[in-house]
């Protein structure tokens, strides 16, 4: 059986005054119906990797791959129209900037309803009920009020959860979640990630969880890729993260503030130790 996602030698580049710069430099991995975490420093290429899987790199950016296949479908040669049908219905991505990705002139309720209708045909009343139920599931208080709000009228954490609701409601086969819970406190974060986890377990959804939070990725993923400067520098089972050897991974573990913080300064990474960019 072919894997859910097969990525070989993925490259993303942008023109710069110094010539074309590669920001993803030959990434390869396969994903089954499992949970893959991608962690790495700011600017290391995590979001670009997620976008490239959906073929969402905008010109003048360019993406290339020896192979990019989803459920046996070759995405590199698929027409733009068929690609659009896949996006949102079978592959969803929770973008890092939720408010930017929501339609500013459409109410939250209408947008979630639209996402639902790409997946099934339902009577209007049932649509509304499902939308409210989904907002409940992502722990939005007072979902009836929130369906009538526009994106600029919701708080940062509400925006993230609305985006998550919208991406989960069509029950995709693959979910790419880019920093999906960075604006949420730990308790809401756990509830939302448990919901995603349920879909992985019960519906066999594949998950790529992009995050800068090592603890979170270790808890919600099976495998972890650590990226740096466009490349994978370490790959391990989530359970073995504490044994990580790359200086970047080790440095990250030390820089996390503690509940009883007595240090006057947090340790920072000596980037010159391994980075050439």
């Amino acid at each position: 059986m072919s894997p859910l996602l097969d990525v070989r030698n993925l490259r993303v580049s942008f023109p710069t005054p110094q010539g074309r710069a590669e920001v993803v430099k030959g990434l390869s991995f396969t994903l089954g119906r499992e949970r893959l975490g991608i962690v790495g420093e700011s600017g290391s290429g995590k979001s670009m990797t997620g976008r490239a899987i959906l073929r969402l790199i905008r010109t003048p950016g360019r993406q290339e791959a020896d192979r990019l296949a989803f459920d046996g479908i070759d995405l590199t040669t698929l027409s733009e129209r068929r690609m659009r049908d896949l996006r949102g219905a079978r592959i969803s991505m929770i973008m890092q900037d939720p408010k930017f990705s929501l339609n500013p002139v459409m109410t939250v309720g209408a947008q979630i309803a639209e996402a639902l209708l790409t997946h099934e045909t339902l009577a209007r009343r049932d649509v509304q009920a499902r939308v409210i139920e989904m907002l409940h599931a992502v722990r939005i208080n007072d979902p009836e009020r929130v369906t009538g709000l526009y994106p600029h009228e919701v708080s940062g954490g509400m925006g993230q959860r609305i985006m998550i609701a919208m991406m989960l409601i069509p029950q995709p086969d693959l979910l790419i979640a880019d920093e999906p819970t960075s604006a949420l406190d730990v308790s809401v974060q756990a509830q939302v990630l448990d919901l995603i986890d349920e879909l992985v377990r019960d519906k066999g959804m594949g998950l790529i969880l992009i995050s800068h939070d090592l603890q979170l990725v270790a808890r919600y993923c099976d495998r972890i890729l650590v990226m740096h400067a466009g490349q994978v520098v370490e790959s391990c089972a989530a359970a073995d993260l504490h044994k990580a050897r790359h200086p970047y991974t080790r440095g990250l573990l030390a820089a996390v503030p503690r509940m009883e913080e007595t240090r006057d300064e947090l340790p920072v990474l000596d980037r010159s130790a391994w980075s050439g960019t």
Partner: protein, 250 residues
């Protein structure tokens, strides 16, 4: 004199009142945290202080000057805000260089090029980002530009709305160290919104906890060491954040 004084502050958006009866006094040079439930009104409080949520009643004053309901141009020099949503707060068609030098230009400050370069270095951004547009940056890089912009005018009071939540912990550590150093050297005052309690422990002296538009508790940040909070909502927030794993005996 308090750096920030809020008295009996109510804030509404149209017919809905989202913040009620907020009283906070932040001393000069203090670092004060605002934490609490998502949607409880934390960003709204910061926006009202910055003059971006005009429907309020009560009293707001910054460095002893009462804030009116109008836009106040001298205000920018004294008080700057870093927004939760850096994408929305950066102009899409302005380069990083323009974003950082404009406030200097408006205030008639010279030596702009050098100041821009120094500030980029201070927030850990290479000079190759200087002439890029926001959409050519990663999420964390944009966030650092927003922080740099707020620091350009060397304000005395900073309103920081989740300034490091989009950053990996290594970059977060650099930014927090920078903010802490500026406060030590220049006596800056911070009002910091975050959902990350360990960040409060590192950065702040006191914290106010918000729930459903109201402040339910104001406590010293050292209460995070042993969880000595009074309010049930604060207690549950603390427990959900894992308490203090270094003191499991408590």
């Amino acid at each position: 004199m308090s750096a920030i004084s809020l008295k009996n502050l109510d804030i509404s958006y149209g017919p809905t009142k989202v913040v009620q009866g907020v009283d906070i006094e932040v001393a000069e040079g203090e670092s004060f945290a605002l934490v609490g439930e998502s949607g409880s009104g934390k960003s709204t409080v910061l926006k009202a202080i910055a003059g971006l949520a005009p429907e309020w009643t009560g009293e707001i004053s910054v460095l002893g000057q009462p804030r009116g309901h109008m836009v106040d141009h001298g205000f920018a020099r004294r008080c700057q805000m870093v927004f939760q949503d850096p994408y929305a707060s950066l102009h899409p068609r302005k380069t990083v260089d323009a974003v950082l030098s404009e406030p200097l230009q408006v205030q008639g400050i010279g030596n702009r090029g050098r100041r821009v370069v120094e500030m980029l270095a201070a927030v850990g951004l290479d000079t190759r980002f200087r002439f890029r547009f926001p959409h050519q940056l990663s999420g964390g890089q944009r966030q650092r530009v927003a922080i740099a912009r707020a620091l350009m005018l060397e304000p005395r009071v900073m309103l920081l709305d989740e300034p490091t939540s989009a950053l990996d912990v290594s970059v977060q550590a650099e930014i927090l160290n920078l903010l802490k150093r500026l406060r030590r050297e220049q006596g800056l005052t911070y009002l910091l919104v975050t959902h990350n309690l360990p960040v409060v422990s590192f950065m702040c002296d006191r914290m106010a906890v918000m729930n459903k538009g109201r402040i339910v508790e104001i406590a010293p940040a050292t209460a995070l060491h042993d969880g000595s909070f009074q309010d049930p909502y604060t207690q549950s927030l603390y427990a959900a954040s894992g308490g203090n794993p270094d003191r499991k005996d408590i």
